[in-house]
Amino acid sequence: MQYQFLGIGYLTWITFLPILGMAVVLLIPRANTSAMKWTALAATVLQLVVAAVIWINFKPGLTGINDPNGFQFVEKFRWIDLPGVAWFGHVAVDYFLGIDGLSIPMVILTALISFVGVIASWNINKSQKGYFALYLLLDTGMMGVFVALDMFLFYVFWELMLLPMYFLIGVWGGPRREYAAIKFFLYTLFGSVLILLVMLALYFSVSIKDPATGQAMHTFDMLAMMNPQNFDPNSLLAGIGTYWRYVAFIALFIGFAIKVPIFPFHTWLPDAHVEAPTAISVILAGVLLKMGTYGFLRVSFPIFPDAILKFAYPLAILGFINIVYGALCAMAQTDFKKLIAYSSISHMGVVLLGIAALNTQGVAGGVLQMFNHGIVTAMLFLIVGVIYDRAHTRGLNEFGGLANQMPVYTGIMTVAFFAAIGLPGLSEFISELLSYLGAFQAFRWVAIFSSVGIVLTAGYMLWTLQRVFLGQLPEKWKGLPDVNGRELVALVPLMVVVILLGVFPSIMLNPMSSTLNHLVDFVHKVGTGLTAVK
C-alpha cells in the first residue's frame, strides 16, 4: 500500500502520534516537567509534519463522500469481528480511515491548532503530567473524528475527546471550572446519546454483503449507509422521506448542534470558554466546534439527503439567529473571553447559512469558514490569554491604551480583529462572501437579514478594540511587557495563514471543491429520490 511509514498508514500516524506522546509523558518522572512539555510539543510538531506530508500528497479533483474510490490515504481492515452476538447477529466494525476534500481542511486545522495549543500551555503550572497526557489524548480524539469513515469508529473518537476535555476544564480551569466542566460534559453527553441511538437505528436498517462470506450483514460503514439501496426494505429508516427518517435526522441534528453550538443549545459554550485555560479555549473554539458542522456534512447530509432538503430552510433560519443573536449578545459582554465566545456563535452561524444553501459556493464557503474561523478565533483566544497572563483580569472596561504599551501585540491583534470583522484581504472575508452568495441564491431574505451581522460584528469588534487598546493607559498597567517569543511562535503562523488565505483562497478551496460539488450533487439527486449516484 502506498502512503505508509514503517508499514503504518499516514492517517494512523497522524491520529495516534499524540497517544504515543501521551505514553511517553506518562513515563516521565513527575519532577521533570519540561521534558513533558517538550514531548507534547514534539508529538504535535510531528503530527503537523505528517499533516504537511498528507497535504502535499493530497490529490484535488477526487470526489469522496459516498464514493469509496474518491477517498485518499484509505486504511481499512476488520477491527471487531464477533460472529453471532445474541440478537445483534454478526457484529463487524471496520477500522476504516480515509480523507476527502471535506476532511482535509479539518485535518490541517486540527494539526495546526494542536501545535499552537501546546505552546499556549507552556506556563501551565499544576500537575503538568496529567495535563499534557490528557491534552494529547484529546488531540487523538479530535483527529480521529475527522478521519474515521466507520460510524462506530467515528463515535468512539467522538466520545474519546469528551473525557479529557472534561478534566482539562474541570481541573485546570478558572474559579467556576467544576460547574462549567459538568455542564459541558452533560450537555455533550446528551447529544452523544442521540447520536448513538441514530447510529444503532442505522445499523439495524442497513445491510450489505459481507465481502468475506457473501452473507448479508449489518454494518456501521457510513458509505454504505449513504446508499438508499442498502436499507432493508422493512427497516425503520428505509425509504425516502419517511417519518422515522425525519425523526432520526432531527435527533442526529441535535446531537451535532450542541457541539456547533446552535441556538438554543449554546449556553455551555460561554461558560466553558470563560473557565477553560487559554490553550483549551483555543482547542475548543478552533477545532471542537467544527466537529458539529463536520458531522452535518459527513453524516447527516449524505445519509439523510431527503431530510436536509426538507429542513434546509429552518437550518438557514437557525444560522440567521446564531449570527444576529450571537453578535448582539457579544456586544453586551464585559468579559473579553465571553465576548469572543459569543462571537464564535455568531461566526458559526455563517457556516450554517452557507451549508444550508446546498449549492457549490455556499457549501464551499461554509467549509472554508469552518477552517478560517478556527484559525481566527484561536488567534483571538490567544490574544485574550496574553493579557490575562499579564494582568490577571479579562474585564474589557479595565483596560485602555495598550496600543502604546504593547505595540507588536496590538499589531497582531489588529489583524485578528479585522479578520473577524471580515475585512477583505484577510481570510474570513472570502468564506463569508461565498457563504452569503450561496445563501442569497437559496433563501434571499434570510441572507439579507443575516448580513446585518456584518454591521453588528464591526460594531462590537471595534468597540472592544477601542476599549482595550486605544485611549489612555491606566497607571496600573504601565509595566505590562509586550508579547514574548513564545507567544509570537503561537500567533505568527496563524496570522500568516489568515493573510495568505485572504489573498489566495484557492489554496484551500481547490482541494475541497470537487468533493463538495459531489456532495451537493449527491444530496440533490438522492434526496429527491432520483437515482443513486455513484
Partner: protein
C-alpha cells in the same frame, strides 16, 4: 492586445503596487530605516509620473474605449450539467480611470509632501506614512478595478485606512470614537452595497462590469430587481461619499490629521462613492437615478446650511465637502454624467487645497481650529491667504476658475432635468446652495484672515508655513484655474476633459430609461451649398431633448449662478467684514433656526437615541435573555433533575428498599413463626407426616 496596451496595464499595476510596497516596508522596517517619510513620498511621485504617462497615452493616443486585463481568481468547478462557479477579477483602464489615476497620485503626492512639514515630530510618524501608503494603494485599487468584487474589496480597505488615520491620535477618546463611527456608518452603507452585489451576481453570475452590462442588455436582469440592485449599490456610495442620511461620520472624521482630511476626507476617498456611481452608471434605471438626484440635492442643501453656522475651520470645510459631493451625486442623478465626474476632478484639487491651507493656518496657530480665535492672518501668511482665496473662488463658482466650469455644468444639467421631468425642486436646491456656498466660504475667509486678531498671543507666534507646505498649496491653486481643463473659460464642452469623458450608453430596458435617453432626435445642420450637390455639406447630429434643453438654457443658468454666488460673497462681506448687519442680532432673531443648524439638524442626537440606543438595548436584552431564560432553562433542567433524583432517592430508600427490607422482615417473621415447628421430637414429626399424607391423599383423589 497591442504592445502599448500591455505596457500600460503593467504600468498601472506598478502604480497600484508602489504604495503597497511602501506600506509593507514601513510597517516591518519602519524603525530601522532612516527618513522613511522620503521613501514613501518618493514612491508616490514615481507613481504620479507613471500615471501621467498612462493618462496621456490613454486619453490622447489610444482609441479603444478600455484596456482590460482579467484573470480567473477562483474556480470552484461545478456539478455535471450545471454551470460552474467561477470568479474573474481584473483591472481596466478607460478614460475616467486614467484621469482618476492622476488625480489620486497627484493629490496623494502633494499631501505626502505637505505632511513632511505638518507632521514633523509626530509620535507615530512612520506609522502615519505607512497608513498613507496603504490608503493610496486601496484607492488606486478602486480606480482600476474592472469588477464589483474587487471594488468592494478596495472599498473596505480604504475604509480601514481611513479608520486607522482618523484614529491616528488614538489617545484622544474623540479621535478613536470618530474612527469607529466612520467605519460603522460606512458598514451600514456597505450592507446595502453587499446585497446589491449579491443580487447582481446571483442573476448574472459575474462580477465584471462588462459582463454585468452585457447581461442586463440581454435582459437577464430587469424590472424592479434591477432598480433595487442599482439603489443598493448606490447605498455604498451614500456611506462612503457621506450622503444624507449617512453623512454624519464625515465631520467627526476631522479628528484625523489635517493632511489626511485633505487626501481622504475631501479629495479622493469620499469621491469614491461618486466614482462608483459613474462606474455602474449604465445599469442605473430612471427610478434609481431620480432617487440618486434627490439624495444628492438634499445632502447638498442640508450640509450647506450647517456649514454657515459652524465655527471650527475644519468642520466648515467638512460640511462644504459633503455639500459638494452632494452636487456630484446630484449631477450623476440628473443624467449629467460628464459634469458630475468633471466636478469630482476639479473639486479634488481645490478642496484638497482648502484643507491643506487650513492645515497651514492650524499649524501656524499651534493647533487652534476655532475661527473665533483667529483673524488678521492675511498679512502674516500671504501665500496661504491668497491660495485660500483662489480655492474659495473656485468652489464658489466664479468665472476663470475650474469650479465655475464644472459646477456650472452640473447646474445646467439639473436645470434641464428639472424642466424636462418636472422635478423643479432639484434645480431650485442646486441654485440655493450656490448662494450658501459662496457665503460660508467667504465667512470663513473673513473670520480667519481679515479683521483684527482675536487671540493676540497665538497671532504673534503665527508665521507663514515652510516651503514643503506652501509649494503644494501653490500647485493646487494653479490647478484651480480653468486653463487646465478647457481653453474656453466659459464653456468646458470642448475642453479635453469633457471631450474624453462621455456618458456611457445605458443598458437598462428602454422603459426604465429617462424618457430622453431613448427619444433620439436627429438634427440636420445646414452646410454651405456646394455646386452640383444638394445638401452636400449637411451635418447630421444625433441628439436628444436633454442635450437640446442644455443648449437652450446654458447662458440663463450661467448668469443665474453667477448672480447668486456674487450675492453670497456680498452677504458674507456685509455681515462679517463691513458688519453692516450684526451677526449676533441676526442670530438672536432666528434663534430656533440657528440652533437647529448649529446643532447639525440634530442628526447625531436622533441616531444616538434611535439606532445606537436601540441596538444597545437589544443587545442588553438578548444577553439578559441568554443568561436568564435559555441558560435558566438549562440550569432549571439541571435542578429539576436534582429534585427528581432526590425524590427517586427517597422512593428508592423508603419504597423500593422498604419493600426489600419488608420482605426480609416478613421472611424472618415467617421463619420465627415456623421455627416453633422444629421441636426435635420424633413424635411431633410423625404426626406432621401423617397429616401431610392425608392432605395429599385427598388432593389427588379429586382428579
Amino acid at each position: 492586445m497591442a504592445p502599448i496596451e500591455t505596457t500600460l496595464i503593467q504600468l498601472a499595476l506598478t502604480v497600484l503596487l508602489l504604495p503597497l510596497a511602501g506600506f509593507v516596508l514601513l510597517i516591518f522596517f519602519g524603525k530601522r530605516i532612516r527618513r522613511q517619510d522620503l521613501i514613501e513620498t518618493g514612491l508616490l511621485f514615481v507613481a504620479l509620473a507613471i500615471s501621467i504617462y498612462i493618462m496621456v497615452q490613454k486619453v490622447f493616443f489610444i482609441s479603444a474605449p478600455q484596456i482590460d486585463f482579467t484573470f480567473r481568481w477562483l474556480d470552484l468547478g461545478g456539478m455535471i450539467g450545471r454551470p460552474g462557479f467561477t470568479i474573474d477579477l481584473g483591472i481596466a483602464i478607460d478614460n475616467i480611470a486614467a484621469i482618476m489615476l492622476v488625480v489620486v497620485t497627484l493629490i496623494s503626492a502633494l499631501v505626502h509632501t505637505f505632511s513632511l512639514g505638518y507632521m514633523q515630530g509626530d509620535v507615530r510618524y512612520s506609522r502615519y506614512y505607512a497608513y498613507l501608503g496603504l490608503f493610496s494603494f486601496s484607492m488606486l485599487g478602486i480606480v482600476l478595478s474592472n469588477n464589483l468584487l474587487l471594488m468592494y474589496v478596495f472599498w473596505e480597505l480604504v475604509g480601514i485606512s481611513s479608520y486607522l488615520l482618523i484614529g491616528h491620535w488614538y489617545e484622544k477618546k474623540s479621535a478613536s470614537d470618530a474612527g469607529k463611527k466612520a467605519f460603522i456608518v460606512n458598514r451600514i452603507g456597505d450592507f446595502g452595497f453587499f446585497i446589491g452585489i449579491m443580487i447582481v451576481f446571483t442573476q448574472l453570475h459575474t462580477f465584471l462590469f462588462s459582463g454585468i452590462f452585457s447581461g442586463i442588455a440581454q435582459g437577464q436582469l430587469s424590472g424592479p430587481l434591477l432598480t433595487a440592485a442599482g439603489i443598493l449599490i448606490f447605498c455604498g456610495a451614500v456611506g462612503k461619499s457621506a450622503q444624507f442620511p449617512l453623512h454624519v461620520w464625515l465631520p467627526d472624521a476631522m479628528e484625523g490629521p489635517t493632511p489626511v482630511s485633505a487626501l481622504i476626507h475631501a479629495a479622493t476617498m469620499v469621491a469614491a462613492g461618486v466614482y462608483l456611481i459613474a462606474r455602474v452608471f449604465p445599469m442605473l434605471t430612471a427610478e434609481a437615478l431620480t432617487l440618486i438626484a434627490y439624495t444628492g440635492a438634499i445632502t447638498a442643501f442640508i450640509s450647506a446650511t450647517i456649514a454657515v453656522t459652524q465655527n471650527d475651520i475644519k468642520k466648515v470645510l467638512a460640511y462644504s465637502t459633503i455639500s459638494q459631493l452632494g452636487y456630484m451625486v446630484m449631477g450623476l442623478g440628473v443624467d449629467a454624467y460628464s459634469a458630475g465626474f468633471f466636478h469630482l476632478v476639479t473639486h479634488a484639487a481645490f478642496k484638497a487645497g482648502l484643507f491643506l491651507a487650513s492645515g497651514s493656518v492650524i499649524y501656524a496657530m499651534h493647533h487652534e481650529q476655532d475661527m473665533r480665535q483667529m483673524g488678521g492672518l492675511r498679512k502674516k501668511m500671504p501665500i496661504t491667504y491668497w491660495t485660500f482665496v483662489i480655492f474659495s473662488l473656485s468652489i464658489s463658482g466664479i468665472p476663470l476658475t475650474s469650479g465655475f466650469l464644472s459646477k456650472d455644468s452640473i447646474l445646467a444639467g439639473a436645470l434641464a432635468y428639472g424642466l424636462l421631468s418636472g422635478n423643479y425642486l432639484i434645480p431650485i436646491i442646486g441654485y440655493a446652495v450656490v448662494f450658501l456656498t459662496a457665503m460660508y466660504m467667504f465667512r470663513l475667509i473673513i473670520m480667519t484672515f481679515h479683521g483684527e486678531p482675536r487671540d493676540v498671543h497665538k497671532f504673534e507666534h503665527a508665521k507663514e508655513s515652510p516651503k514643503v507646505m506652501t509649494v503644494p498649496l501653490i500647485v493646487l491653486a494653479m490647478l484651480s484655474f480653468f486653463v487646465f481643463y478647457s481653453f474656453n473659460p466659459l464653456n468646458p464642452d470642448k475642453g479635453w476633459l469633457l471631450e474624453s469623458v462621455k456618458k456611457p450608453e445605458s443598458v437598462v430596458p428602454s422603459y426604465q430609461k429617462y424618457s430622453w435617453d431613448f427619444l433620439h432626435v436627429q438634427l440636420v445642420e445646414k452646410g454651405a451649398e456646394q455646386p452640383g450637390v444638394t445638401g452636400g455639406g449637411d451635418k447630421t447630429i444625433n441628439t436628444n431633448p436633454y442635450e437640446m434643453e442644455l443648449e437652450r438654457i446654458h447662458y440663463t443658468g450661467l448668469e443665474l449662478s453667477l448672480f447668486l454666488a456674487s450675492l453670497g460673497i456680498l452677504t458674507a462681506f456685509l455681515i462679517y467684514h463691513w458688519k453692516k448687519i450684526d451677526a449676533e442680532k441676526l442670530k438672536q432673531r432666528v434663534k430656533p433656526l440657528y440652533n437647529f443648524l448649529y446643532n447639525k439638524w440634530y442628526f447625531d442626537e436622533l441616531y444616538g437615541a434611535t439606532a445606537v440606543a436601540g441596538t444597545l438595548f437589544l443587545s442588553k436584552t438578548f444577553a439578559w435573555f441568554d443568561g436568564n431564560v435559555i441558560d435558566g432553562a438549562v440550569n432549571g433542567a439541571a435542578s429539576l433533575t436534582r429534585v427528581w433524583s432526590s425524590f427517586s432517592g427517597k422512593f428508592d430508600h423508603y419504597i423500593v428498599d422498604g419493600l426489600v427490607n419488608f420482605s426480609a422482615w416478613f421472611t424472618g417473621l415467617l421463619g420465627r413463626g415456623t421455627r416453633r415447628v422444629q421441636t426435635g421430637r420424633v413424635q411431633t414429626y410423625i404426626i406432621f407426616a401423617l397429616i401431610g399424607v392425608i392432605v395429599i391423599f385427598y388432593v389427588f383423589k379429586q382428579f
